[in-house]
Symmetry: C2
């Protein structure tokens, strides 16, 4: 084995300089949008007690990376950023602002089937608000995500929104037993990907009778851009059904707040369920208009039971959050050819003559002290190698200093793209470069 070069693990990725630079630019834009809305950054460990995470993710839980550590503890790698937030909140709620608005950007690990562009290590970018039942908090999560997407330049997108209580209410009205709700919701979540026929089949498996499925689709067929349009479809049953009344009321308030926050392209989609078991109210997702087939690039919802559930106290601690599916989004932006790698180095100081090294070192240091990103080619060598290095690093300008230039106190500033060059006083070099 020793002569075989070492491999990446399947489902894991290296981010080389170009890809990493792109990711950092996107993360910075996301971070800036999140902070504009008053969300504060937070980070939790990569490892948690398995006990903290288990029982929170439904059937997917088997994808968790878990093992015994050297001290014999059962530990698991972070599976998402939400359950650790709940764990953190339950230990710190007395010292945190109320409500607590936090964001987190970091990797999570799932032993996914690696087909279909799924990775076993991928980043999540989450905003969550813990401790508020206000419809404004739901709307703010949606608004900050759409703001971040706008800042990233992703083009038009559509926001689809719903409330789980409406689906619950319809299911109750149709006399579907509550124990079947999670399976029904997971089936509905597959509508976009698998189509209505397959989902109908899965709904039968989930315990729905054919007439219940038919009715369910009829009731949930409605889509509207405001709450009034919605209510039309439910007027016959809404008054006698608590879940439905609450769901429609909440959705209406969230729609009002979204309008106030100037969030565009919002549509109610009553069939929108989202896959996670723990949602209790608002559910929402965002789709790129130019790439509807990509699936949702952001999503989330309200989960009023999770925090209390994780803390073990079982009290209701209201919470709502949204997450950008950054890996899928980057895939989409690459497909649209929107992402471009932007070199970070402004200039390369050529190294042509070992004797002139003190002048080169002096020049590169002066450039850096002025705030420019500058490099000196390390080995004294011919120009070819140095041009090649500049090209590889996408550096567009070079400073060339020879003995003649040192005598005359000048340097040659060369544009490596146009190959044009000019002589310039060394003192003026920085001024010139900062003005380009």
């Amino acid at each position: 084995m020793s002569s075989k070069s070492p491999q990446l693990l399947k489902g894991f990725r290296d981010f080389g300089p170009d890809k990493m630079q792109t990711r950092l630019v996107l993360f910075a834009k996301i971070r800036s949008a999140f902070e504009r809305f008053g969300f504060q950054p937070m980070e939790t460990p990569a490892l948690e007690y398995t006990e903290t995470l288990s029982g929170k993710y439904g059937a997917e839980e088997k994808l968790m990376y878990r093992f015994k550590d050297n001290g014999g503890r059962s530990v698991a790698m972070r599976y998402d950023l939400t359950v650790p937030l709940a764990r953190f909140y339950s230990s710190n709620k007395n010292i945190l602002p109320k409500p607590f608005k936090r964001y987190a950007i970091g990797p999570v690990w799932r032993a996914e089937n690696t087909q279909r562009g799924r990775f076993r290590e991928f980043y999540q970018c989450d905003v969550d608000i813990v401790g508020s039942t206000s419809a404004i908090s739901d709307a703010e999560c949606v608004a900050v995500i759409t703001e971040a997407l706008t800042d990233m330049g992703v083009g038009d997108f559509a926001v689809r929104i719903n409330n789980r209580k409406i689906i619950d209410g319809v299911l109750k009205f149709l006399n579907v037993p509550e124990k079947n709700f999670p399976a029904v919701l997971r089936a509905l979540d597959k509508l976009d990907k698998q189509g209505e026929k397959k989902v109908r089949a899965e709904l039968l498996e989930a315990g729905l009778k054919p007439d219940q499925t038919k009715k369910l689709f009829e009731y949930l067929a409605g889509s509207a851009t405001n709450a009034k349009g919605l209510l039309d479809g439910f007027s016959e049953i809404v008054s006698e059904n608590k879940d439905l009344a609450e769901g429609v009321g909440e959705l209406s308030d969230v729609l009002d707040a979204l309008a106030g926050l100037q969030v565009k392209n919002v549509t109610v989609d009553l069939k929108l369920a989202r896959g996670l078991d723990y949602y209790t109210g608002t559910v929402c997702e965002v789709v790129l208009s130019r790439l509807p087939g990509l699936g949702s690039i952001a999503g989330g919802g309200r989960y009023d039971n999770l925090v209390g559930n994780v803390s073990g106290s079982k009290e209701i601690i209201p919470a709502v959050g949204m997450s950008i599916g950054i890996e899928r989004l980057i895939e989409g932006l690459e497909e649209l050819d929107i992402l471009e790698y932007d070199s970070r180095s402004d200039i390369l100081v050529f190294n042509l003559d070992g004797k002139l090294l003190p002048a080169y070192l002096n020049t590169v240091t002066a450039l850096r002290k002025s705030g420019l990103n500058a490099e000196l080619y390390f080995e004294s060598s011919g120009m070819d190698k140095q041009f090649k290095y500049a090209e590889k690093k996408k550096i567009n300008r070079a400073v060339i200093i020879g003995e003649e230039e040192i005598r005359s106190g000048q340097a040659i500033l060369k544009d490596l793209v146009t190959r044009k060059q000019k002589k310039i006083k060394i003192e003026s070099l920085i001024k010139e470069l900062k003005n380009i």
Copy 2:
């Protein structure tokens, strides 16, 4: 167990909003310094094949988190950022710039004894240059680290530098068998922490005879700020000893380059060894002048064998790197009371009357669109709660809008620290806030 609130794992930490904000500010400064020197960002996975990491870290290797994944592979959590770089480089060297200058900032995991402020998850901030033997590359790693430290405002620091070949040369001159070198170097590395007496005892255990130990300390007693001073102590043996001649020559070149790059406070310390087995030439560390007892806050060196060793090719691929011990540094900066948490929210829009919600939402949205970080208090409530929230989040200003203000097209801008307030036209609000 269900009523017990879930715990953090021992040796792991949550970074709540204040601590996290501080870390992000420091990371941004480090990143900016690294990019000013032309280092490019890179990231490798949290998990690697155990085989890739094992045999690289010496006896410490037992601290690695390793386990079998769901597919039965032996995997280990990233133990440092250097071995994964070597793995990445060996697979990608044909497409990377030569030399390859990369930085990486990210967590690593070690099942350390958690006493003495050691953590099992901690960040490393590394720069490395692969593919150059030039002394400038050694000097650049040191220069970029000192630049980052300066940008962080850590105050004065001292740079200590040495070359492993000098220690090797002296050991060879003293007829110490090469198999004993690693143990000798590890013993020397403890000089600062444990003092000379304990280290002498450990050197005996490492196979040195008392007269060899005595001679070793005599030869390595020298300290100088330039290479000439150094050579004085070695003139008798340097000519007949290849390692020593190379070591002194390299150190001299690196010192020249450091002077050219205007790195201050550099001292040669011939006893400086650094703990890691894989260093082959330059070794270096940085100590805060105000907190010498803290230990080194940055360190590194040249490791010309590691990349070939990891790739399995055994070819010599020269490399040099330095790392900021960011966790220890933050500890030191906290001790010096230099770090301050800087609120990211500029202003809070008070929510006093549910009927005025559209005006509040409109105002907070306008503030955000102008680039300010702005929040709206979610629930309509009395001022007390909202003052308390602002205080908790260290927000210093509030916008108060009541019915009267809406009628007159004005708002009250309140300074929450001085409690002074003034009326201002809503149109002028943003201008006023951006000028503060």
